[in-house]
Symmetry: none
Subunit: 123 residues, 4 copies
Amino acid sequence: MIEIDTRSPVPLYDQIKAGLRGLVAKELLRPGDPAPSIRTLAETLKVNPNTVARAFRELSGEGFFESRRGEGNFISPAAKKKARTGLDSLGRGIEESLRLARRGGLSWREIDSAVRKVRGEEK
Amino acid sequence: MIEIDTRSPVPLYDQIKAGLRGLVAKELLRPGDPAPSIRTLAETLKVNPNTVARAFRELSGEGFFESRRGEGNFISPAAKKKARTGLDSLGRGIEESLRLARRGGLSWREIDSAVRKVRGEEK
Amino acid sequence: MIEIDTRSPVPLYDQIKAGLRGLVAKELLRPGDPAPSIRTLAETLKVNPNTVARAFRELSGEGFFESRRGEGNFISPAAKKKARTGLDSLGRGIEESLRLARRGGLSWREIDSAVRKVRGEEK
Amino acid sequence: MIEIDTRSPVPLYDQIKAGLRGLVAKELLRPGDPAPSIRTLAETLKVNPNTVARAFRELSGEGFFESRRGEGNFISPAAKKKARTGLDSLGRGIEESLRLARRGGLSWREIDSAVRKVRGEEK
DNA sequence: GTGGTCTAGACCACC
DNA sequence: GTGGTCTAGACCACG
């Protein structure tokens, strides 16, 4: 459901947050749906439950989740809007990696080919 | 000569490495040329000499620099070839940030606009 | 567990690297085992944590260690093979000291007696 | 006449000192002979004259050279004895490299083969 | 708790 | 002047 890369320098909890936001953006999860449980998600991702818990905590803080007493976490009605804030930081991440690459001498040709490569991996 | 961004999450020594590789890629520095001295570079970048030293040490380890005792660091004859390995890692950095963004639900439209934005910054 | 000699001209971080490789070569540490933590090793060796960290970083760079975020360093599955490259450099160190000694006029008789001396120290 | 290795970690001036002592030990230079001139030696070794000068200065300090006014440096009558002090430090260098190698897990078999290798290079 | 980055400053070796 | 090693200590990120 969610993909993460343990060897990436990007923190796992950030990847998990991105993954959850992505599920909402792609409408695989809709407002009102129950959030996956921390424990099972930790198991399927083979990740420390603390790490998942941190991602959930931060998303709850943003109002992305809604907790109903005794029932657990649910996707909040506002989640789709809230997802935007995360998207911005992802965009900034891309910009940074581009600037670094340019300073390091990578040509736009090579950058474009990297972009096409990822685009091609998707379907 | 080299640009770094203190507020970026990318370690300074990595930015410095990228910058130096870039100078070679752009042929502002050629094999045999002396690299700027650790101390002066540290001063101009307003960074601790240890940080610059680390970047230099790693580049020497790759065979990108040759460090002559008491004389300084020089661009190695093989530097242009070695530069490729560095460029590859920059490319991989871009790919990672793209995959993360896609998993997080960023659309290709938005990604393309980020790319154009950086492209536009360059003059 | 690891022995170092503060008065030797050989850098401490090199001695620490050699010691860790030795533990693997002697199978006191096997692939998958956790390496001692940087802080505790620094304490037992009475050395600054930065110095140990440098040794660990370089071993990780060689693929000798795997460093898992927040968990520590682990002996990589490939460590036994990687250990060879380290051993080679130790061998080269010996060769260099021998050549220097020969150029300086030390006789093979004297060299052999030095070798026997070290051999005798080991019990 | 003297062999040095620019890429060795051993200081050039130490290598030069060892070389000069070796010439006396091998009786290619005898007491009373003129020492080679700093400038020509620096040229043939392709080394900074300062470096040769340092080696000469230290050897003179030991009484290895004798300077006759207006004529330059000559090998002192006591040079053969003085050469011993240098040999001791070469021996210690060997012992250190051996201990380091042993701590790093190199077997005596491998060490012996390194010794034989250097021995074989000579004639 | 873990490792990683960075700063500050001392000291040494070399050219 | 150069680069290299080491210490000390602060601060952050991660699990």
